[in-house]
Symmetry: C2
Subunit: 188 residues, 2 copies
């Protein structure tokens, strides 16, 4: 069949590469970049992040019971990568990357002003899976940059933000538009 | 801050749009397209899919205790969208889309030959969240199309497969290469 078989691994891609902001007060504010994230339920809107317990942000998120998922773009790609590589033990990531913390409305963690979409999340449970613990969470509020809202249609154009994805160790822009959901059954 | 606040919703993007193949025997073989999927643990390699219990595939996956995640590409985009829109109650999706079921090695569900990467998954638990139930799963084996393995380096070039993503109701190719993980701290 022209295929090679590998031992089990993590091969679901492309994934988002989100900056998760956390901390209960300004002196704790930190950012960790995560691709082990996604939506797990539509109603109620729920999502998860999986984090290694040895990461500096792990206890910040666990103790505060909340965090913010900030979507990332081409112009944030350098900061996105860097916040996934260095530790908040050694760096003030907001200050060193010129990112602006903004108070959220439902959780104590800050939002990143420069991100086009901020998703406030409240932790509902933590599942210890192995290398990673999964924070199962409920979405509490969403904030979107109004400059991407079309005046006529009120549609939010996420595709105009320069949003990026992470695929098998590499970052990419979202590329060519293929079709809308349901395009395969649309009447011409 | 130039942001508008929305009520809670599902806004984590871009996500994969995978074809999940399921069924315990040829007469049951079906495909459901899912974006509520991702990696939840690196070691052991674990992932999830979230499925509405009223979907035809739900009981196929639950009863068999396994399924296959098949990554999707530009050339599979039409089939990917269609398999997310119509029901296996009314359609033989493999036959109608000319897709080839291939026996997997660890689960009873078939793999889709035309997909560049097949991920065999065994269900470990089901969490009932609301509209969707989350199948928490362990990756049992991976099969990759050998034509994307570079002869010299043995690297698997997922970025050469034409892999696609799903973002806020639209499908896109993975676009321009930005950098490898760690690029922000690499010595020049």
């Amino acid at each position: 069949m022209g295929k090679v078989t590998w031992k089990p691994g993590t091969m679901i891609y492309p994934l988002p590469a989100v900056m998760v902001s956390c901390g209960a007060g300004e002196n704790e504010y930190n950012i960790i970049t995560i691709s082990w994230t996604g939506t797990i339920c539509t109603d109620p809107p729920m999502c998860y992040i999986s984090v290694r317990p040895e990461r500096y942000s792990y206890n910040l998120i666990k103790n505060a019971g909340g965090y913010v998922i900030n979507l990332t773009t081409s112009s944030l790609a350098g900061a996105t990568d860097w916040c996934g590589v260095v530790s908040g033990k050694d760096h003030n990531k907001f200050r060193e990357k010129g990112l602006t913390p903004v108070r959220a409305t439902k959780v104590s963690a800050p939002m990143i002003l420069e991100s086009p979409v901020n998703i406030e999340c409240a932790v509902r449970s933590i599942t210890e899976l192995g290398s990673h613990h999964m924070f199962i969470s409920e979405v509490m509020a969403i904030h979107a940059d109004e400059k991407y809202i079309e005046k006529e249609t009120k549609a939010f154009r996420l595709d105009k933000t320069g949003i990026i994805c992470y695929s098998h160790g590499k970052y990419f822009t979202a590329g060519e538009f293929i079709g809308k959901f349901g395009f395969s059954v649309k009447k011409k």
